[in-house]
């Protein structure tokens, strides 16, 4: 219990730090020194000290969306385990809760984008919904495969069983397939590179960035923070499935899990450095492949 609480506090404190690790990795590949390690925090503080400016055409939806997003992602964090560390709130079937709470978060981003009435943001919303519809299938089927493998329907139980060896345990093949699928889902859901470029502000390529163009100040800070926590949530799931070893004690488990998250951030940074963004028409194919991997894992378990 104490470790679950500790995990939540660590997540709240260090989620933006993972973004910073990704940026530093990219800077390293590009031969630059990159932004300071605490830059995401400076940005958040800067945004929090500013006032918000609203367009005259937006309604209450636009005003409330950032708060709902943060609330949703915090609820998701509460049911997220990290390997041997159970979630703060664990109940059977919480994997569905997690997926749909993240769905609610996405829904808020999308309707707030549509609320502005800008065709530009509508385009981003359309792309986001199209890709996440495919990613959600991969995520749910992948989690179902793990659930069927370890005969448990709670995320904490699933992750504890998976943690017993990750990719090289007795459940190796299933975990390997689900991890590969979850990695693609993680990249798609967090708008990372093969799907969306977080740095670009070109009309043709943006997905997530374009939807939050009209936000500023405190609202933007909330959205950025929620996005960082979302990365942490999905990352924890992936690390739980993928990490090939575990600690001997709970504190060791926590350390191994956090180390895994750090490695995950490095891996994402490397992927972003060596890969180009996929053409938009190719993205659904990538997500379908992730779905097929999940499906194959499920089939491997059920046969």
């Amino acid at each position: 219990m104490i470790y679950s609480l500790l995990f939540v506090f660590l997540a709240l404190a260090f989620a933006p730090f993972l973004m910073s690790v990704i940026n530093r990795t990219k800077a390293f590949f590009g031969g630059r020194s990159g932004p300071a390690l605490l830059q995401p925090y400076y940005d958040l503080v800067k945004l929090l000290r500013k006032g918000a400016v609203y367009s005259r055409t937006v309604s209450w939806i636009f005003h409330t969306a950032p708060s709902v997003e943060v609330a949703a992602v915090l609820a998701a964090l509460a049911v997220t385990p990290l390997g041997g560390i159970p979630a703060l709130l664990a109940f059977p079937g919480d994997l569905l809760f997690l997926v749909y709470v993240l769905g609610l978060m996405r829904f808020c981003v999308v309707i707030a984008a549509l609320d502005t009435g800008s065709a530009f943001e509508g385009m981003g919303a359309s792309r986001e919904v199209q890709f996440s519809a495919l990613a959600e299938v991969a995520l749910l089927v992948g989690l179902a495969a793990v659930a069927a493998k370890v005969h448990a329907v709670g995320l904490s139980d699933m992750c504890r069983e998976a943690w017993a060896g990750g990719m090289f345990g007795e459940n190796g093949v299933t975990m390997l397939l689900v991890s590969a699928s979850l990695l693609v889902v993680l990249l798609a859901e967090n708008s990372r590179i093969p799907v969306d470029d977080p740095n670009t502000h070109l009309e043709l390529t943006m997905i997530h960035e374009v939807m939050i163009l009209d936000y500023g100040g405190v609202d933007l800070a909330l959205i950025e923070y929620a996005a960082a926590v979302k990365f942490w949530v999905l990352g924890s799931l992936l690390v739980s499935m993928a990490l090939p070893f575990r600690g001997t004690s709970q504190i060791g488990n926590l350390a191994a899990g956090l180390g895994g998250l750090l490695v995950l951030a490095l891996v994402v940074g490397c992927i972003e450095s060596v890969m180009a963004r996929l053409r938009l028409v190719r993205v659904p194919q990538l997500l379908v492949v992730a779905g097929v991997l999940s499906f194959l894992a499920l089939f491997n378990v059920m046969r």
Partner: protein, 213 residues
């Protein structure tokens, strides 16, 4: 880790999906070669195969399928100057989805068969069926003659794997016969592709249906 055997079978399935989803012909040829290599390894790992001249046979057959046949196909590619399958009859994403359907179908089809095999080799039968269906699908769903040859090679791989699954010692004779046929077929197809290309300036088989005398 589960047995490396299981991992290789899964890898085989993934290679099939790669064949269904890749548009670059070079990548497809490589995939078929890797598939042949993997099937050779599976043959060596299958319980019940003794280490005698059979081993040599497997190595020989694998070498032909993983090196010689792909080289022949690559030569045909070079001569015709085709590098990419453009606008197949069935799109790539949809091909992958159909592939999932075929995978389910092969598992369902094998279930009532009561295959007389032990646990390890049992999973080979549905995967064999899936590989065969993939080959057939490539033949009917792609335009370029080279991809169709690759589909044919995939089917041959699956027939070979079927022999491996049952590990009947005498089946190697049959295998050699099949291999000889395929070798001749790829040779003939290579020449055919060359001729089709010279006559019609492309190897799009769809255009052959417009022929009039």
């Amino acid at each position: 880790m589960q047995s490396p055997y299981d991992l290789m079978v899964i890898l085989l399935v993934l290679l099939n999906f790669r064949l269904l989803g890749a548009s670059q012909l070079g990548a497809c040829v490589n995939t078929v070669a890797v598939q042949a290599l993997l099937i050779g390894l599976l043959a060596l790992l299958t319980p019940g195969v003794s280490w005698n001249w059979m081993t040599l046979m497997v190595v020989f057959v694998t070498l032909i399928k993983a090196v010689v046949l792909p080289a022949l196909v690559r030569r045909a590619m070079r001569e015709t100057g085709v590098v990419q399958e453009i606008e197949p009859f069935v799109g790539y994403t949809f091909s992958i989805l159909i592939g999932t359907g075929m995978l389910v179908l092969s598992f369902l089809a094998v279930r009532p068969l009561q295959v007389p095999l032990d646990g390890a080799a049992q999973v080979l039968v549905p995967v064999t069926l899936f590989t065969m269906l993939t080959g057939l699908f490539l033949i009917v769903a792609r335009r370029k003659a080279i991809t169709q040859v690759l589909g044919f090679l995939t089917m041959e791989n699956s027939i070979y794997l079927f022999g491996v699954a049952f590990a009947i010692q005498e089946s190697w004779l049959v295998q050699t016969g099949v291999l000889l046929d395929v070798f001749a077929a790829v040779f003939v197809m290579g020449i055919m592709i060359h001729h089709i290309n010279r006559e019609f300036d492309n190897i799009d088989t769809d255009r052959l249906s417009n022929l009039r005398d």
